[in-house]
Symmetry: D2
Subunit: 338 residues, 4 copies
């Protein structure tokens, strides 16, 4: 059983069905009926008028959003462990034409309002230093922690006071919402978020993510930026279909709840071995190298997170929509038995 990442999980059958159903001739690009329905559907979800644009990957969603929020000569404050800094091969630098990621710290890869203030304050307002234009936070974070609406709003307030835009990387937004029960509006635009990368691929989609633009004035240039970056597919209806299927009857939340439940089951088995509270679908567990080997010998596959030695190390287990509590029971049992 594989716990490497939710990013390679199978596509949910209802998403597959929606893709199959979309296989009709329709207008190219985003002129088709499905793509045209996205703004309304996401506006309904978020309780405010939004623009929603599909792209194929989370990297593209993040980088395009940032490029609309930050000019080439400025920077984006983010966590040192953020996906945009660690795992996107410099995509933000590419899409933002050399703009800088300004690194901040925080427990469990979460940023706090105070840390944003601290980092922003350190930057002298003179031409020698890269000035910040935006902040990017990840919900759920790279270590599976979630933000409360209040936490986001505190960052949003700092941003407003300093004239910074606020982006949320929501590759696992569904897991965060399913876990916290927060109203999607409360943790985004009501808290000051200007753009959200709404994840779908890690949650049972095939290859569609959405950029949700809350400040619709910011949305004007995005379609050009999407085209210019080679992200405008001519049969866009197949991406729109995935996103609509995901929202239909809250499949996105059902999938996330299943994955989260799987993670909780592993977390309970791990007990004191847990490195972070498990608030979404990622579990970081202290293991020794022999323990890791033992689990692998039983057929469980996962990543070491950093170096794993005889004295100990960290292992990461990520659950997907098809790995609920019942499905992961063998792993939970194996961990409990260590």
């Amino acid at each position: 059983m594989k716990f490497f990442s939710d990013n390679a999980a199978p596509v949910h059958p209802r998403v597959m069905d929606a893709i199959a159903a979309a296989n009709l001739l329709d207008s190219p690009y985003d002129g088709d009926a499905l793509s045209q329905a996205l703004d309304d559907r996401f506006s309904q979800l978020f309780g405010t008028r939004v623009k929603a644009l599909w792209v194929a990957t989370g990297t593209a969603a993040n980088a395009l959003a940032l490029s609309a929020l930050c000019p080439p000569h400025k920077g984006v404050i983010c966590h040192r462990m953020a996906h945009i800094e660690q795992d996107e091969c410099g995509a933000p630098g590419f899409f933002m034409h050399g703009a800088k990621l300004i690194l901040a710290e925080g427990e469990g890869a979460k940023l706090g309002a105070d840390e944003v203030t601290r980092v922003a304050s350190q930057i002298r307002d003179d031409v020698h230093q890269v000035q910040p234009a935006a902040v990017s936070i990840t919900n759920a974070s790279e270590y599976g922690l979630t933000y409360t609406p209040k936490e986001v709003a505190a960052i949003g307030d700092v941003c407003k006071a300093r004239g910074l835009k606020l982006h949320m990387d929501g590759a696992r937004f569904a897991n965060a919402i399913a876990s916290t029960g927060a109203d999607p509006a409360d943790v985004t635009w009501r808290a000051g978020v200007d753009m959200l990368s709404f994840g779908c691929v890690k949650n049972g989609g095939m290859n569609a993510e959405a950029i949700i633009v809350f400040d619709t004035a910011l949305a004007r240039e995005l379609p050009y930026l999407r085209k210019r970056s080679g992200q405008l597919q001519s049969k866009g209806r197949f991406l729109a279909a995935q996103l609509l299927a995901m929202l239909e009857d809250d499949l996105w939340l059902a999938n996330a709840r299943a994955a989260n439940a799987g993670a909780q089951a592993i977390a309970e088995a791990a007990g004191d071995r847990l490195l972070y509270p498990v608030e979404a679908n990622e579990v970081f567990v202290k293991l020794t190298a022999p323990e890791a080997a033992s689990l692998r010998a039983q057929g469980f596959e996962f990543y070491d997170w950093g170096e794993m030695t005889a004295e100990g190390g960290e292992a990461r287990f990520v659950t997907a929509w098809d790995q609920d509590a019942e499905t992961v029971a063998p792993l939970a049992a194996a961990i409990a038995a260590l």
Copy 2:
């Protein structure tokens, strides 16, 4: 019946089946079995060792290929009407970091070796002028003309003599091969082509194109460039599946032949109205505004190409894999009856 473009046609059932069959958990990105099979499969097709990378769009395929062939301070010679110049919202400038498209002329949007020589010769070799690094040609061209292996080889020779790399935009490569019967090897690497954008979407695919790298030394950095541009999908198997299905039993050629046959049927009906020889699946027809209106009143949809007046103008009809001679017979009849 729509003749706007082949880019919005339905996906071929065998491609849909392949996508459905790929819905199993596998390694992420291009670590899955299907993606890993691409190099071999395309190497077989081209009779030489190639690297094949999937991306989601033709714009991305072209722009990534060019960015691997041309440094930011140089330029790419292409036709004034090339897709990369006219229709990609500046994607080449973005991916190549400001490198320049150096425009050339040629009948039917085709470049000739002499024209490449003329344009390259005009550029003074001093630091004030942008120096060329590559040439890009489109086969079939924007006006549906094809290149013979000899024509490409003549350009390839000029490139070699001048130290230029050669890229082929093959968004409609299948139509060109199906039409000319040329060996894919003869019209590409044997003629000096270094990279090919191998089209699939316009030919019955959903959202997969391939970058084929003949000079495999050039392929080393491409995977990084692909990731950096947000084109590395985590469930890449769904793109590989499309490409493999297309090559299976030469579906790519069968589809192209059907589309070409449709275009021929329209061409025959158009007779003297034809603006260019029809060598692939695009037909440019002289019509007056009333004639165009009459066709539209009969339910045929197509683009005016430039301004259409009472005195006359140009109309473009593009056929897709599902619009063979039989299917387009009503349009052919309507044109003949004008």
Copy 3:
């Protein structure tokens, strides 16, 4: 005697004196007294509140100005023969991060309002085509023609109507003003110009040019862009000194008048051989190869402009501030004697 270009002429003695006088310890960058005086001094010249920033080269002045007027995904309409297109090694593409120069035509390298309208109208307002954000004109033009305030205002009106910014490359602005007698305000901001590259090097300076920003809101980010491009000198007082010396007692106009007079003397001698009216300090003359050789044998150095054959060709003579009518008399005589 050299007539290659005004760009290599000696520095005027009063500029040299000003540089020498600036050799005191002062605040770095543009914090010194001389740099701080620039805004006032240029505001006085232009009769309105402007921001004036020194940079070292005309290429930097143009490219920085354009980068403040045009975002990376848009384009700048300019003449096909403009310096920014022909002679700056792609600097606009670099500074504007891949934004495109959209080429227009016009006699003598001048743009007309109708041509700007024509070019802008051709661009479909959809995501596939690069949208224009600005227009750049050159005064005096690459062929030594000048713009009247009315001509600029007509372009300015088109720009306003279409939401385009207007830049003027004034590498030879002094020559244009000295020639036409136009009020500097009338031919710039009153006619809708947003930024001006104010030339100094070609007019007797050493290595200082000024970016004059008429819409001062646009000036806010320019200091950062200047620093980021490596153009912020730490001993900026030596650049400010040049610009102030140039404005002192209208040295800039006196120098330009001298150069223009030299050009007029050559023009009169050339008579029917003239290819363009001589409105500044550039003279384009029809010569045959033997005639060109004869002039060179007499010690006159100049560029062939394009190919020079026995049947004829073009030669370019540029005069500098130290080549007034008297100084160029020998060349004038030699041309008259051909």
Copy 4:
């Protein structure tokens, strides 16, 4: 007396004389006799064949050098406090088209070979992480520390083993050489340095720095990059004159020795207050806010380095070529008297 920085000091009289002497008509750009002499003169200094290109600023020298050493999709390892990271407003990101600065640690802003190894080893060699292409070190460092040839060679060895290029920011190279007595060859190319930013402005120059290219194959594209970045001055002879004057009779070393001696005098007075060994012309001193105020009341001007409180803080004193031991004696006395 000002100790803010050596970057605003007067220009040395011999440099001023050389500039004045260069005021003759000569070929434009770097075609003049002085510019043409640079390669030979610097080759002599470094005991090997080098290419030497003038630019106007240290930021341009560094950023251009790095852009020739690192492609847009890779990164440059440098110290967290390096000038390129802290003080150049993102110029490296601009010139390198989004390439990343990969930050390392080290006492006194110096990098060690082990730290380079550690940082490089942390980067997984997969497409998700930005791969390093080069290392940049600063000699003397931002805290005035120097590198021995052996220390540089150790880094050079790591670079060679890992296929990384090595750049040295030598804004204060003269101070480092004057201080250590190292052979310029030993601490650069013999130790594996591929390019050096050779500082002149901080050492009595006006506005010329040199990029010294040891691996001359790397020099081929640099002239184009220089032009494209608006750094190619048309009267380049005035920059070449400064560099040649600096090398004449080792003025560069004499100037650096004077500045270093001034720093030593301050250092001796500071005694236990010193934060770093003083190996060049920068002195970092522990002061309390009242002590700093007292020095300022006596007419000494300098920067607080970080926050200065009643409990204490850091102050930076930088000496220039015109502030030798004798000149700074009043400051030394004032510090000793605290």
